[in-house]
């Protein structure tokens, strides 16, 4: 009895002295604190990571960014005969915000037509993820990736236009 009481007292004292007991453990690590929980969620459970067959006629591949800048995004879309995007995959070399932006981009393009996908703006992505000003370029790159993928798809649809590879 006394032992249990002492234990509770010890826990309370240590909680008071050592740290705020109200914060869950994860919020104590610095990078997580700077990120909105949506960014962390996209990072921990990324949607649509992977690759589609880039030689297929229905697949458009967009590769944007540069390793020297610390940000490279590859976004691929698969479009059906009616012009609707049925599948999307991404791979990113970049910080948490870049990964989240590209993951969100693949989520948003799915189910849209090629024309609708062109209307996705970087400001929408940034607002959805609550990106701080210093990370806005990640959302811009995601928008560029979508546009590059759509452009590549359009190029492939051109009848016998020669090399459809975008490199």
């Amino acid at each position: 009895m006394a032992v249990a009481g002492a234990g509770r007292l010890r826990r309370a004292a240590s909680a008071l002295l050592l740290q705020s007991p109200r914060l869950p453990a994860r919020e104590l690590s610095a990078p997580a604190r700077l990120y909105h929980k949506k960014v962390v969620d996209h990072y921990e459970n990324p949607r649509n990571v992977g690759s589609l067959d880039k030689t297929s006629k229905n697949v458009g591949t967009g590769l944007v960014g540069a390793p020297a800048c610390g940000d490279v995004m590859k976004l691929q879309i698969q479009v059906d005969e009616k012009g609707k995007i049925v599948d999307a995959r991404f791979k990113t070399f970049g910080c948490g915000s870049a990964i989240a932006s590209s993951s969100l981009a693949t989520e948003w393009v799915k189910g849209k037509t090629v024309e609708e996908a062109l209307t996705i703006k970087n400001t929408d992505i940034a607002k959805e993820l609550c990106l701080p000003p210093v990370k806005l370029h990640c959302s811009m790159l995601a928008e560029d990736a979508i546009k590059a993928a759509l452009a590549d798809y359009k190029l492939k649809q051109e009848p016998k236009k020669g090399d459809a590879e975008k490199k």
Binding site: A2, A25, G94
Partner: protein, 429 residues
């Protein structure tokens, strides 16, 4: 009495029985068990939160940024915070005398260059930002500053230093151990060159004091900077060693009551100074043991990581290197995303995302690291209180997350397909 003894024994039994994880973190350094399941980021009521969460904090692997206070240092400081609170400059009573006596252990003075006719200063490109910043403000005042380049190993070329010394060079400043890559500069040789050419030699030894043996006479050091919080001492205090023979004259930065022989006015903060002195004393005792233990842990960390992952580069010379500061570049994985993955370990990165601009670390640029590798670098700091368990955990998580991030990386995919990344024309943005 028998009953009480029995109760006590029963009580002992109760506390020792394995149950939920211990809730009191020992000295704030250990992470007993980490719950990997994604938790709700919404702060829940403390009463409803599982008991284990109260004790969990990230592992600390960033000792180059700052170090925890050594308990022995705290023991040394406490009396001066509670009992012996006299002003060390009070001449007339015991409080002042005892405080002054304590202060005599670690002399402190903040100095400035003596602005004589000599107007040339030599430093390196990989100095700590504070030194580079001071040099920049000297340039604004009319001094000429030469920033020596470093080789790929991070060490300066001694011949270049000799060539750079001119008749009006007053000071050479080279840090002993680099805070980002852990490289040790050839201080003894530099000291030799400087003393033969009659130039003052300053070294920023903040990361080196108490960790590697330093002898100001053998190495012919004229001025040496020491930082309290890098050697398990308190924050807010530092020291500078200023040679007496041959005399180094310095001009005070702040004017006032003339304390510290006129070199740094202002009441000396006795508790902090006692802490610094105690930290140095403890460091002297523990240096050999710490160095051996840290070397062993560092070797373990590097071997395990290199064995489990391909394409990992260690930045900086592997021989002339302080083992506790390990800077590794994980190719095709961006540094900040890896830090985010290793959320249970406090680490630091040389990548741009962790700085306000998009520029990666200037130290890595100075040693000629490719820009994309510079974005992929992580600094592991191993210190006096780092345990083998912590290192193993860090390695395990690091390997796991690098593999996962490489699966998500288009660069890794391209390399696996045999594409040479250097041949691609990237888009700019």
């Amino acid at each position: 009495m028998l009953l009480r003894a029995g109760w006590r024994r029963a009580a002992l039994f109760v506390t020792v029985a394995p149950g939920p994880r211990p809730t009191v973190p020992s000295r704030g350094l250990r992470l007993s068990v980490v719950d990997d399941a994604p938790q709700s980021a919404v702060p829940t009521d403390a009463a409803a939160a599982p008991e284990a969460e109260v004790g969990l904090r990230p592992l600390y692997m960033d000792v180059q940024a700052t170090t925890p206070l050594d308990p022995r240092v705290l023991d040394a400081m406490l009396p001066y915070l509670i009992n012996y609170y006299g002003n060390p400059h009070s001449r007339t009573h015991a409080y002042g005398w005892e405080s002054e006596a304590a202060m005599e252990h670690a002399r402190q003075g903040v100095a400035r260059f003596y602005k004589s006719r000599k107007k040339h200063v030599i430093t390196t490109q990989t100095e700590h930002k504070c030194v580079l910043d001071s040099c920049r403000s000297l340039e604004a005042e009319g001094f000429r500053v030469t920033y020596l380049p470093v080789q790929k190993s991070g060490i300066i070329e001694l011949k270049e230093l000799e060539a750079a010394i001119q008749p009006d060079t007053s000071l050479v400043s080279v840090m002993t151990v680099n805070n980002e890559i852990g490289v040790k500069q050839p201080i003894a040789e530099i000291g030799q060159i400087c003393s033969s050419r009659k130039v003052y030699f300053h070294t920023d030894a903040a990361q080196a004091v108490g960790k590697i043996p330093l002898d100001v006479n053998d190495m012919k050091i004229d001025l040496m900077s020491i930082s309290g919080h890098k050697i398990y001492g308190p924050k807010g205090v530092g020291a500078i060693y200023i040679r007496r023979r041959p005399r180094v004259r310095v001009e005070p930065l702040q004017s006032g009551g003339g304390q510290e022989r006129g070199m740094r006015s202002g009441t000396v903060p006795t508790p902090l100074v006692v802490g610094l002195g105690a930290a140095c004393e403890v460091a002297q005792q523990e240096m050999e043991y710490d160095h051996k233990r840290i070397s062993k842990l560092a070797d373990q960390l590097i071997q395990k990581i290199m064995k489990s992952l391909p394409n990992v580069v260690m930045n900086g010379d592997p021989e002339q290197h302080y083992p506790g500061c390990i800077n590794l570049s994980f190719a095709y994985v961006e540094g900040e995303s890896l830090l985010m993955a290793l959320k249970d370990v406090a680490l630091s990165s040389g990548s741009a995302c962790t700085s306000a601009s998009l520029e990666p670390s200037y130290v890595l640029r100075a040693i000629g690291t490719d820009e994309d590798l510079a974005h992929s670098s992580i600094r592991f700091g191993i210190g006096r209180f780092t345990t083998e368990e912590e290192v193993d955990y860090t390695v395990e998580k690091c390997v796991q997350h690098v593999k996962r991030l490489r699966e998500m990386s288009p660069l890794w995919e391209m390399v696996q397909d045999g594409i040479d990344l250097k041949s691609i024309k990237w888009t700019q943005h």
